[in-house]
Amino acid sequence: MTRTGTPDTSTDKKWFDELVLELRLQQVNGKAIGDTVASARELLADTGQSAEDAFGPAREYASSLELPRAPQYEWMRTALWPAMVGLLAFLLFTQAAAAWALSDLLLFSPAQLALLSAPVVAIALLPLYLAALVRRIWAVVALVVFGGLAGFLASVVAPTTRADAWLALDPVPWLVGCALVMVALSILLTVRSRRPGSGDEIIDPLADVSAGSSLGARVGMLVTNWMFPLFSLIMLGLTSLFR
């Protein structure tokens, strides 16, 4: 038996991308994913086969391995709930910032509140359709359009006078409160992401170093953690121009 070298085709790259995605969706940890990928690469290098020929469809292969999975609700606690709270705080912050810029009260109508809560509900229900979402690009686009449309319609149905409003609130406490929630959340996420192994990066079993620990990955993680405060700051700067 001879070793014929590592095939490096775009088809194989797509297959490995799908394999990693499927294992991630199954909540398999980064160390086990790295091991699985390295094992598959080892055999392909030995046989010279394509990944599809040697292992079959990536989705079926990932499923057949039956690798240990993290508790089902772990990612909801660590990722979903902070994202949802952050989004809610950000949406309220933008409404409060607009009212503050116009030296007006923060006015709400029931339809506006319903439309503002729509993206939050969509994120809360993410566990029900996450797998379908990541496998279909049109579904991602539809979700983004849905979120944008809900935000736009919320601004359309926003009451213009106090008499039309269902709720009339002083915007400053909401502005400060939402800002504090977003900053606290970002600090929490940053502290959590700095703990060793917290990112659950894919680890090459031979190199024993994480593939995702580069400077770019760390900066990306930092920007993600501080996304809502950053956008809020930009938003506040823009609305201040109209004050």
Binding site: M1, R3, T6, D35, T36, A38, S39, A40, R41, E42, L43, L44, A45, D46, T47, Q49, D53, A54, F55, G56, E60, Y61, S64, L65, E66, L67, P68, P205, L206
Partner: protein
Amino acid sequence: MRATLGFLALRALAAGPSYGYAIIGDLEQHGFGTIKGGTLYPLLTRYETAGLVVTEWRAGDGGPGRKYFALTDHGRAELARLSADWQRFADTSIRYLDPERPTKETSQ
């Protein structure tokens, strides 16, 4: 074949630690055809989870690193048990299939 592949793969490790391609080669050499990685690796992964085998990565010599699989004591015991079961089944089957064996008349 699928039913027996499990203990055949364990048998391929009886002589000492081995890796995916060598296990496939050993089975092929002994007349079991070419086993695909998509069939062998899930099996070995389940055996690792069950404690029948342990694994160790070793750096490759000019090639890729290799994941070696080795039988544990539990794996050896399981191999012995499955081999004995298979032996009994094979003996029974051979006796039953023997054309010289007297057959019983079936009444309508």
